[in-house]
Each structure stands twice: as C-alpha cells, then as structure tokens.
C-alpha cells in the first residue's frame, strides 16, 4: 500500500467536512474519488498533500506516518498535487512554471529529461514556452498544471478536477495523457473528476464519497455497472 488514509476527520474552522475517511492507493494504480460538489473530495486531497491539517486520523505514505509532515516535505517524498483551478504562476512564463515544478533537489538534477517528457505529452507547451502562463487558454493552462506536477517527479500524482471547464476535445486529450502518465511512466494517480464515465473507464478502482464519508468502493468496471452510480452520477438507467 502506497497511500493510506485512515479515519481522517478534517474541516475548516467549526465546519467538519470529512467525517472519518478511509481509503488506500496501491502502487501503479489509478484510483478515482467521485462525489457531488461539497462531498469532501478536494478537502481529502488537501489533507493528503499537507495543505490542511486533519483534526483526527492518520495519513501514511510508503509506510511512513506523514500526518503532521509539511507540504514541502511531502513534495520531497513524491506526493504532488495538481490543484483545482490550476493555480499557475500567471506572471511567469510557461518554462518558468515548469522549472518551479522541479524545485526539489532530486527533480532539479533530472530537469532536462523530465522537460523533454512533458513536451512530448503536451507539445503545445513547447511552442508556448516563453509565453506568460496567465495568457494561455484554459486547456493549455490545465496541460501546464499537469506538466508542472510531473516536473516534480511524482510517485503519487493527485489530480483535482483536471477536466473542469474544458472543451470535450481537450478533455479527451487530458484524460488520455493521464492514462499514459500512469501506464507508460508508472506514476500512481489519485483522481477527482466530474467526468465520471471516462474516469471510471481509466481507473483501476474508485471510491464514492458522500457527505464526508466513503459510501461505495469498487473496481472501475464494477462501479460502472452499479445501479446507484449509474443513476446518481452517470444519469443512465439503473
């Protein structure tokens, strides 16, 4: 087990969002976290990446307890979050954004080859490398956000809504890239997606989160055939 989230309780101020979440991710998997808005998906990723301290429970990574580790320490271990809304550095160029992705010492030594790989996945970034990130289109910004995440040489890549607000053609491109990152580069992925159908197709396993609790768990295929998922999340007949 690469990542273990054990009975985590977390929230903002007085509001408790996660009421005891349990989930695991094994090496090499793509795992999806599905649920309605406000169910606690983003909060879960914030706890895993260290942006939010949980009020209870335990997070472990490769056998180490990382519940209280700081974000920059987790980045060093290989836990990389590509946050919701991309969160690029708008007044820096595409190349500078990518370079910052490789901020850790380990990543810096291999910056050339990783950069080559990112340009291979998203050739448009190479064309735009001297353009300010703030001037890119939505799809290009998302590619840059994922590319910047890859520059850190992640072991576990956390993706928060990578296809939000993108045109269908770009969604396909991004989802295909995620699949390739996992299959070709061997990077483990924990994915939050609105595009439930497509994400279940590429996922090994998935969790459904409702009101801060995991209510359903299974392989991608199982959940695609599960009546509750079909009616509530896919809008198909059960």
């Amino acid at each position: 087990m690469m990542l273990g989230v054990d009975n985590v309780v977390a929230g903002y101020g007085e509001v408790t969002v996660l009421k005891g979440i349990n989930l695991t991710v094994r090496k090499g998997e793509i795992v999806s976290l599905l649920g309605a808005n406000g169910a606690g998906k983003t909060t879960t990723l914030k706890v895993i990446s260290g942006l939010l301290q949980p009020k209870g429970g335990r997070v472990s990574f490769n056998g180490h307890d990382i519940t209280t580790a700081r974000t920059n320490e987790r980045v060093k271990m290989g836990i990389i979050l590509v946050p919701e809304g991309r969160q690029l550095f708008p007044r820096m160029t595409v190349l500078e954004n990518l370079e910052l992705g490789a901020y850790t010492k380990k990543a810096r030594t291999r910056i050339k080859e990783t950069l080559h790989r990112v340009y291979e996945l998203f050739p448009i970034l190479k064309e735009r490398k001297f353009q300010l990130a703030g001037t890119l289109s939505g799809g290009e910004q998302q590619m840059l956000a994922i590319g910047r995440g890859l520059m850190a040489l992640p072991e576990l890549l956390l993706l928060d809504e990578p296809s939000l607000g993108l045109a269908p053609k770009i969604v396909k491109l991004v989802m295909d890239a995620i699949d390739r990152i996992n299959k070709v580069d061997g990077i483990t992925v924990l994915l939050i997606e609105q595009n439930v159908y497509r994400s279940l197709q590429i996922s090994d396993r998935a969790y459904i989160i409702e009101n801060g609790m995991i209510t359903l768990e299974g392989s991608g295929q199982e959940l695609l055939n599960e009546p509750r998922v079909r009616s509530a999340y896919l809008g198909l007949s059960a």
Binding site: S49, K76, L81, P83, P90, L100, Y103, T104
Partner: protein, 322 residues
C-alpha cells in the same frame, strides 16, 4: 501584487513624470528665479543621487511586501538602526563607515531573521492585520530604544574616504553621494538578478504570485518568508547608512522615511524592483526641486503629496496588476 516583471507602461509613465517635473522645475529655476541652467543641472544630479538611496530602501520594502503581503511599518526605523549601527561600529573599529556597510547589512539581516522567525511568523497565522500592527509596535519600540541608546540628536556619518567634492563641467558632486548612488544601483541590480535568475529567487516570486501553489512546488514557504524579510531589512540598513553619509541619521526620522518608501513603492508599482528604483529616483528629484524652489521645510510633504496624487489618479492601477 507580486514581484513582477517590469511593467513597461508603468515605467513609461514614470519617465513621463520625470520629464514633466523636470520641465516645470527648469522653467522655474531658469526663467522665474533667473538662475543659470548649470544650477539646474546641479539640482538634477543631486536629486538623482538621493533617489538612488531611496530606491534601495524601497527595494527592501517591496520585496517584503511582495512575499509576505505586509507593509513593513518599521522600515524607516530599521534604516535608522542600520545607520546608527554603522556609525557605532565604525567609531569603535576606527574604520571608514564605507567598509562597515557589509557588517551593518549582516547585523540587520540577523535582526530580521529574529523578528520574522519569532514575532511575524506567529502573527501571520492570524491573518494580514496582526503582522502590520506588530510592525508598527516594532517601529515604536525601536524608536524609543534608539533614543535611549544614542539620544535624539541628529548625527552625521562621516566617511573620510569620500568626504570631498569633485567638479564635473562646473557641476559640483559630493563624492559621498556619488559613491552611494553607484553602490545603490549595483545592489538593486544584484537583487533583481537574484530574484530573476536563481532558484530561490524564483521561489520568492512564486510565493508572491500564489502562496499555496508555491508550497505545492516543494518550496519551504516559511524559510523564504524569513529570507525576504531579512533581505529587505538588510537593504534598509545599507540605505540608512548611506543617508547618514549624505545627510544625517536620527531616531526621529524613522516615520518620515517609512512613509517615503511606501510612497515610492506605490508610485513604482508594489512588488516591482525596477519600479522601486524608478520611483525612488523620481521622489529624489522632486524633493530636490521642491527643496530649492519652495523651501527645504516642504521636502517631507512632497512624498505624502505624491502618494495622495497617485492614489487619486491611479488607485487600483498601481496596487493591482489585474
């Protein structure tokens, strides 16, 4: 509000401000007051050289603001503290204050590390207001401590090495001003290169643009906060010493210098190092013009008037880039 690339529109506007203010001053000095244009050239050189020192102090303030999003209300006091420490060490070691500059930088850098890692670091957890109040409290405490230590007298930091005046084409140049100016420009360019070229500098800019995303890159945000504050304070110490060599230092000058440096970074665009330099040069010039034409008693009002004018003419434009 970030440490940004030069905003060329803004730089153009500032150059325009330079040209217009100089044109008005030239008209007054030469045609109304019937002086020679040589005297006007004298005013321009003095003003620019003073402005370089202001620019250096403002660079420190702008870096602190860019990274921590805090206006360092103790900036003027820290400049004066830097000046007094230089004076003290140079008297004690019997060396020229020029050689003491690096020591003064290091001493204030260490003080900055202490303030940031203890006081500001905990205050910043409670939002953006507590650290600003804290900076104000530090300003008051420092001012009174300096009065206790060195009395409220005005001191001049004499540097025998550069305590002379040279004539260039009839314009007399105080060597102290000239050396300070050159040194200030070099330091500002070094800082600019540091934040644009080095990895830590890029981390500094990243934090100024998006703190959370910067943490996600593996940047240790608390260490960069400490670095930004200490660097800013260290630069203030050098600028303070230079002011002491050109004019004087006094524990009571802190608040005025704080408002001047704030006016400069608002003028030049908050977070921009190039803006801090150009803004400093313009304030130095306008102060010198006003000091000559209207009277030296009005010098300190200039910064505040400029500040008000900027806020009236381009309030959002100068504070935000979007």
């Amino acid at each position: 509000m970030s440490i940004a690339r030069p905003n060329f529109q803004l730089i153009a506007a500032l150059i325009l401000a330079f040209v217009i203010s100089s044109a008005i001053a030239y008209y007054y000095v030469v045609y109304v007051m019937n002086n020679t244009s040589l005297l006007f050239a004298q005013l321009v050189t003095s003003g620019l050289m003073l402005g370089g020192i202001y620019g250096l102090a403002a660079t420190g303030l702008t870096i602190i603001f860019g990274v921590m999003k805090i206006i360092n209300l103790a900036h003027g006091e820290l400049m004066m503290l830097g000046g007094f420490i230089s004076l003290w060490i140079s008297t004690f070691l019997r060396t020229d204050p020029l050689f003491v500059l690096p020591i003064s930088f290091v001493v204030l850098f260490v003080i900055g590390v202490f303030f940031q890692s203890t006081l500001f670091n905990s205050a910043m957890r409670y939002g953006l207001n507590p650290p600003v109040f804290l900076a104000f409290a530090i300003a008051l405490a420092l001012q009174n401590l300096m009065i206790l230590a060195w009395t409220a007298d005005v001191r001049i930091i004499r540097s025998p090495l550069i305590d002379s005046t040279v004539q260039v084409e009839g314009v007399s140049i105080q060597l102290a001003r000239f050396v300070s100016f050159i040194l200030a420009i070099v330091l500002i360019l070094l800082v600019k290169a540091f934040i644009e070229k080095t990895m830590i500098g890029k981390g500094l800019r990243a934090i100024s643009q998006n703190r959370e995303a910067a943490a996600l890159m593996g940047i240790n945000v608390s260490i960069v906060n400490v670095l930004a504050y200490s660097l800013g304070v260290g630069l203030a110490a050098i600028a303070g010493t230079m002011l002491g060599m050109v004019f004087s230092v006094s524990p009571l000058d802190g608040p005025v210098l704080t408002s001047k440096t704030i006016a400069i970074i608002v003028l030049g665009g908050i977070g921009s190092v190039a803006g801090a330099l150009v803004g400093g040069l313009i304030l130095g010039l306008i102060e010198t013009y006003v000091g000559y034409i209207v009277g030296s008693g009005f010098i300190n009002a200039v910064a505040l008037l400029t500040f008000l004018l900027v806020l009236i003419l381009r309030p959002s434009g100068l504070f935000g880039e979007r």
